[in-house]
Structure formats: structure tokens, C-alpha cells
């Protein structure tokens, strides 16, 4: 396979929006195309991540209309659905197609209007990500799955639940702090540990501020062969490796604190890049819930099992810490327009490696990783980038 790079990125404001999925994506796409010193006609294919357009807008065939909306109706386009990892699986596939030589320049990313559904309908559609034939009547929600993970984590590692809850709250406080520096984040306000404790209970032990929001938004990436990339930009951000893995329905997963799909996906990415967790300077990972960030930092190899909670406490995951996690604010503060989240993670890593992140810049970051998790821990995609 040949070398491939990200040459331009774009992202809309995350949060409530009146725009359609297509309008949101076009805005992000045009920014990415302009940043790449290209015109829409140079785009050879579109790989678009989106989960619920049918429920949000009564609209499918989204990728075709997205291409038409930026003036390139006659190119191959595909919508990718991998639950909350949809944006990442679209980008990983785009990377593979360019690496194979089939295309030189591809537009990839994701768009979502999760807020358009309203909380009740959104909760119902999100539950479709579980093994719904069997799990719908159980009443298990996504916060419920991660709540079970938190209880099992505390029990497995002998951590008093009160102590783990404080460490989880520290994840929310950190990500909200980082989010204040991201102009396009859904939430740009500091919160305290007490704010987390005061928020309503969602699924014990997860309170509202342990949970990421539903958001609207889109993010887009232009991916090019290294040869083209060098001609288009002074700052190509190269793909070093990528991985993806699925898993069976939740009850069939042996230990949900280990997230086997992520371990396999991350290993593929590390092996392909010839790198280890110690080589990663910065990571944007799937903090859909505070416990999810702690577990992900262990699954990805940044901390030993049972140590991720202590890493947060010691400040090792802050900007300026040993391994800065979610400098963008993560899903918690940047927001979670599900199909766009993976693309927003790549946007952040590209901006960070190019040194363009202002107050949230991780100094000297040269290698960055993304991690996106979908559904009942059964869809994971990881990508590693370098300059």
C-alpha cells in the first residue's frame, strides 16, 4: 500500500442546529476542500458516516445528495454505518481506497442531527444499536451498559465506588476544561466535581454530567496520496496505521471492562504503524461516558488495567500531562453528533499535529491516535497519524 495523508479538515459548530445533515456536511466539506487548496471537482469519491438520517429527517441516500450539494453529483458515494464509530469507519475505508491506488483524492467524514429527534425518540433509536430483538424489552440503555461497566470495574480492581465516582467526575471536569478552548465545541463551560455530583442520576452510578450530550454537527477530511499531498500542502498529516474490529452482543462478551474489539482494533493499528502506546503523544478517544474514557486509556495501552482511574487523578491525561487525552473536550464537551464524531477526532489530531490548536495545543505532538467505539462495545475503529 502507498503512503496516504490528510491534507485538509473542516468542522461545523457542534450543538443544536437548524441545518439539514447535507447542509451541515457541505459546510464542513467546503472548509476541508479549501484548506486542501482543492476545488470540489477534484474530489473523486465520498465516504460519509451517518447513523440515523432516516429517523432524523426521513432521508436516506444521504451520500449522493451530499456530493450533489457541493457540486459533484456524478462521483461514487457511499454512506457508512458503524453506530457511533460511523465517521471513523468511513475515514478508514477512504484511507484504504487511496492507499490501494484506486483514488488519489477522497472526501470523507460524517454528519448527524441527533438533537432533531428529541430525547425520547433519540433514546429509542440509539437502543437500536443493541441486539434489539432480544435486548429491547430488558430496558437496558447505553448509559446502563457503561453503568454496569463502572460497577464491574470497581469490583474487579477493589476500588470503593465512591472513589471511582470521584475519578470519573475528574474526567468530566478535565474534558469540559479542554472544551472551553475549542471554538466549535457544543459546551464551552468549566464544571466542578460538585456539579457532577449534583446532576441527576441517569443509570447508577452514572449521573448526567458523566454522560456526553446528543449533538448536531458534521466534520470532513480530505484524504490524498502522499504524492498529491506534498503538492497540496506544507503540512500533510500522514496515516501511520489503522484498525477496526467488531464484537458479539453484550452478554456474549466475556469481560466488558476489557473491550476485546478495541484491543484487537488498536493492535492492528499499532502493528501497521510499527508503534507502541508509548509512542503516542496525544489521543482523542471515545468518552461517551466518564468511565468509558478511563477504560479506553487502559484498553489502548496507555495505563495498566485498573490504573487508568489513577492516571486521571494524577493529571496524566490533561494537556501538558504524560498522555493528553481528549484535548478537544472529547464527546463530553465537544459534543457527540454520532456519525460525525470520528471525523471530529481526526480533525483535532490533524490540527494538533500541525500545531494549530492555540490554548489547547499539546506542545510538540508528532504522533496522534483516534479511538471511536460504537454500540454495545461491538464496533471499534482506531487510527494513528504522524507528521
Amino acid at each position: 500500500m502507498r503512503e496516504v495523508a490528510v491534507v485538509g479538515v473542516g468542522m461545523t459548530q457542534f450543538g443544536p442546529s437548524e441545518k439539514t445533515n447535507v447542509e451541515l456536511f457541505s459546510e464542513a466539506a467546503m472548509d476541508a476542500i479549501a484548506e486542501s487548496n482543492l476545488e470540489p471537482k477534484d474530489v473523486q469519491a465520498l465516504f460519509l458516516g451517518n447513523v440515523f438520517c432516516g429517523f432524523e429527517e426521513g432521508q436516506v441516500t444521504l451520500s449522493a445528495f451530499a456530493a450533489a450539494d457541493i457540486g459533484v453529483p456524478y462521483i461514487p458515494t457511499t454512506r457508512f454505518e458503524g453506530a457511533c464509530a460511523s465517521g471513523s469507519v468511513a475515514i478508514r475505508d477512504a484511507y484504504m481506497w487511496v492507499a490501494s491506488g484506486a483514488y488519489d483524492i477522497v472526501l470523507a467524514g460524517g454528519t448527524e442531527k441527533a438533537l432533531a429527534m428529541g430525547t425520547a425518540y433519540a433514546t429509542r433509536t440509539f437502543a437500536m444499536g443493541s441486539d434489539s430483538r432480544y435486548e429491547a424489552p430488558t430496558g437496558i440503555t447505553f448509559p446502563g451498559i457503561f453503568a454496569m461497566m463502572a460497577h464491574l470495574y470497581a469490583k474487579k480492581y477493589g476500588i470503593p465506588l465512591e472513589q471511582l465516582k470521584e475519578q470519573m467526575a475528574m474526567v468530566a471536569v478535565k474534558n469540559h476544561h479542554n472544551g472551553t478552548f475549542h471554538p466549535k465545541a457544543h459546551f464551552r463551560k468549566e464544571i466542578t466535581i460538585q456539579d457532577v455530583y449534583k446532576s441527576i442520576m441517569v443509570a447508577d452510578p452514572l449521573q448526567l454530567y458523566d454522560c456526553c450530550p446528543f449533538s448536531d454537527g458534521a466534520a470532513a477530511i480530505i484524504i490524498a496520496s502522499a504524492e498529491k499531498a506534498k503538492k497540496l500542502t506544507d503540512k500533510p498529516v500522514y496515516f501511520a496505521g489503522a484498525g477496526q474490529c467488531s464484537a458479539p452482543p453484550l452478554p456474549n462478551q466475556k469481560d466488558i471492562t476489557l473491550v476485546k474489539a478495541r484491543q484487537a482494533s488498536a493492535k492492528q493499528a499499532y502493528d501497521m504503524a510499527g508503534l507502541s502506546p508509548n509512542d503516542i503523544d496525544i489521543c482523542e478517544l471515545h468518552d461517551c461516558f466518564t468511565i468509558a474514557e478511563i477504560v479506553a486509556t487502559e484498553n489502548l495501552g496507555f495505563f495498566d488495567h485498573g490504573e487508568g482511574c489513577k492516571g486521571v487523578e494524577r493529571g496524566e491525561t490533561q494537556i501538558g500531562g504524560r498522555i493528553p487525552i481528549n484535548p478537544s473536550g472529547g464527546l463530553k464537551a465537544r459534543g457527540h453528533p454520532i456519525g460525525a464524531t470520528g471525523a471530529a477526532q481526526v480533525y483535532e489530531i490533524a490540527k494538533q499535529l500541525r500545531g494549530e490548536c492555540g490554548e489547547r495545543q499539546v506542545e510538540g505532538a508528532k504522533t496522534g491516535m483516534t479511538d471511536t467505539l460504537g454500540a454495545d462495545l461491538c464496533m471499534v475503529c482506531n487510527m494513528i497519524f504522524r507528521i
Binding site: 437502543a127 437496558i140 446502563g144 454496569m148 460497577h151
Partner: protein
């Protein structure tokens, strides 16, 4: 005859309406599946038979849910009336997720992994038949 029903989701729910929790077992390698699988994921055989589970097991994972799904809200659950849900490991081996009754959802600190449970078969909303849930013994 139970054995003659096709191994699929529809049959599984038909059995639940008859208050039977049925798994599928591969006749070739004896692997047990709950929910039932028509194809053995271990030996890839497709000669399956139905096996009734005794319905006894223990709590393997749990949470008390305050903000629930549409069906639980319709049942009257809300932030003041949370419910317990979790994963149950049956004595026969398979794990299945389910609603758990007989535990205090308002006092999750009293709930313990390993609590013995028995299957029950509550009715779903009108015309949708029964589902499997579990009750603390």
C-alpha cells in the same frame, strides 16, 4: 412438539409465551446458545436442537436505571421509580441480559454481583407476547 420448531427468534418468543426459556444446542459439538442461534459459531454446523433452561442463574452485571427506554417509561418508570437491569449468568452457562425484579433499585449499593436469580415471563405491551426477566430469590 418443541423440537420441531425452527431455531429462530420467532420460536424463542413463542416459547417465552409458553413460560419456557429455550436455548439451542449444536447436535454435533454440544455448544449451547442463548439467545438461540441457527448456526453453530464453534463448528459451523446447522443441526440444532432446542433445550429448555431451568431458569436459575446469578447476577453477573447490574445497574439501576433512572432515565429509561420508551417501554419502561410506558410501564411507569421514571427518576423517582428506577428499575434494575443487568446481565444474568445461567447455571447452564449462557449469559443473557434482562430486567431484574426483587432488588431495591433505589438502593443500588445493596445490590451484589452473584445474587441468585430465577427466570420469570412478564407480558410485553399489548399483543407482543412475553419477554424473559429475572427475579431475585
Amino acid at each position: 412438539m418443541a423440537e420441531e420448531r425452527e431455531v429462530n427468534s420467532a420460536s424463542f418468543y413463542q416459547f417465552l409465551t409458553e413460560k419456557k426459556l429455550m436455548a439451542s444446542r449444536c447436535k454435533k459439538c454440544q455448544a449451547l446458545y442463548l439467545p438461540p442461534h441457527p448456526i453453530c459459531t464453534k463448528c459451523h454446523g446447522s443441526d440444532m436442537e432446542w433445550v429448555e433452561m431451568k431458569g436459575n442463574g446469578k447476577l453477573a452485571a447490574f445497574t439501576a436505571i433512572a432515565v429509561g427506554t420508551t417501554c419502561t417509561i410506558e410501564e411507569g418508570h421514571d427518576r423517582n421509580n428506577p428499575y434494575v437491569a443487568g446481565i444474568v449468568e445461567l447455571d447452564e452457562g449462557p449469559k443473557i441480559s434482562g430486567r431484574i425484579s426483587g432488588l431495591d433499585a433505589r438502593k443500588p449499593e445493596t445490590i451484589k454481583v452473584g445474587t441468585p436469580l430465577t427466570a420469570e415471563f412478564p407480558e410485553q405491551e399489548e399483543g407482543k407476547g412475553c419477554y424473559v426477566a429475572f427475579k431475585a430469590q
